[in-house]
Amino acid sequence: MELKTIPTPRVVVHYYEGGKGQPLVFLHGAGGLDLDMDFLDALSQRFHVFAPLVPGYGDSEECPELRDMLDFTLHTWDVVAALGLRDPILVGFSMGGMIASEMAAVAPHDVSRLALIAPAGLWLDEHPIADIFALLPYQLPHYLFYDEVAGSKVLSTGTDLSDPKFLQAFLVRNARQLGAASKIMFPIPDRGLLTRLYRIQAKTILIWGESDRLIPPIYAQVFLKRIANADLAMIREAGHVVPYEKPEAVIRAIAALA
């Protein structure tokens, strides 16, 4: 995958591009693309993959003009247009799944294939989603991974929060990335998507880790019920970061849309 930039009406967007085949747009979760790079490499063996960063993620410029869900939704359509794509396979993970759902709901004729991987965007009182904005780094693996021990190792590699220099860089990155995510996810990741899901016409596949402790798989049932043409691929031995833990299974599920 190659890191590139492209101007859009409101901000210059950073994106990764790689592979050949049908165009596919991947929208990352609140954690950014760090854990997704191997998955994207594998995905690019079958598709022409575009993975734009939400402004503020990675080294990309923040965009104060993006404030609410509609801003995020239309901005991401602007990115698709800037990339010169028409009806790409739209794939979104977690927060990215929330954005992809909104995109498909506001422009139902422009998305014919949609893959939602453990998407955010709904809230069930009986199954509250953990507050990712109040979690400390050492608490994340429990919510993200099927294998917490392995997950802890991955997340803590190269991190030393007791080093003031590292801590400052970490806080800046958090402020930029999760600060951007907070606009659509804080304090509760629900901006009314439920009332718009009926508009989605795309052939949709929901992909969920069976052991997702962040957004429990029960949320899949609501998406299934509200989206006319949706199927569910439940993946065993996977937590929230299912593209990281089970890339092949996720790619198989996406490929069934193509």
């Binding site: 904005f133 400052q168 800046v172 951007a180 907070s182 804080f186």
Partner: protein
Amino acid sequence: MKFTWFNLMPWPYLPEDFRQKNHSVWVDIDSKLFDPEKSHELYNTYMDLLEYAAKVGFDGIGVNEHHQNGYGLMPSPNLIAASLARRTQDVAIVVLGASIALYNPPLRVAEEFAMLDCISGGRLVAGFPVGTSMDTNYCYGQIPALTREKYREANDLILRAWHEREPFAFNGRYTKLRYVNLWPRPIQQPHPPIHIPGGGSVETFDFCLDNTYSYSYLSFGGYLRGKTLMQAYWDRVAERNTSDLSPYRAGFAQTICVAETDQEAERLYSEHISYFYNRCLHVYPGFADAPGYRTIKTIQKGVLSQYARPAGGLFPELPWKDLVEGGYIVAGSPETVRQRMEELIQQLRVGNVFCLLHIGDMPKEKCMYSTRLFAEKVMPRLRNFFPEYESDNRFWSKPLARRVSAGALPADSEVASVVGV
């Protein structure tokens, strides 16, 4: 110099093992620890103490706003301030402050502050905090990355409402009002003085200087630790060629304990200091600083939130000696306290001092004792700093010359003749 007696209104019944057994003193504090019946006496005692401070000669009495917080029982500072306005005569009522971004519409703050100013006869000193991340983001659900923009807009709305004399339409991003027409209006014209409690962000320094607001640093870390931040403020004042270096452009909060001797201070107050620093400040670090709440520029300056410390609480279990020597608290005999306060006032260059003289689970008698000693034996000897700015009244209240007091109705026996029946 202006000395304000400040009470955070802590809950004094947190168990000894609070820190070990509880997640946080703030946001998700165990609500079972609150006993409404006990709070009845507590609220009244705390308000009595504020009135007592007025009686012994403080320039201001101060209240603030916190939510879901074990050391702050004032979700609504204005409720307390309204009562104080009725029960006191000359003292400034310092509300530091009402979190303007939390009210919908923020015009509510302009109205309530106007009411307080009218009731008190122009004694209000108004405060506009952004609010801590705990209060603003985690308790009141404001989106961290948008909090400051919303705050600025609220400030603009309130200021316009206070200044303009004709109804106007306000088309804000966060608040849209067709008919802004403030009623009642404040006595102090165009508006009461405004203080901004800040945590060291450059944007807030500039905001205060742009608007002639007083900047105050309300930390519990004490004046030695506060020096870097206040120096950054004064550097900014100089950098911008501000018209004057009035010390009333700045304020600082300091925990203070006074007794007859240094030894007596330790004997009387150390357990209450320990209660505050070791139990009340047990804030879960995940609530300290929601991502996006502080600007990148501020984080890059290396100013860490005073709550953003490793798990286990803000301060290590510091003994009395370390707290005193480390300048967290100013404590001891009147002479010791005077020397320390002189250092504080000069080194931080602050004309407004917010005196935290009620600490933790301190009983009212000890608080009265310490308060009176400070008022009688310390305060008078700290009055003469910055004589060249004595006439600077931009940052303090300007009461009506003739004011009424509560309870001025005629006796029932006089009513009939006046009414003419």
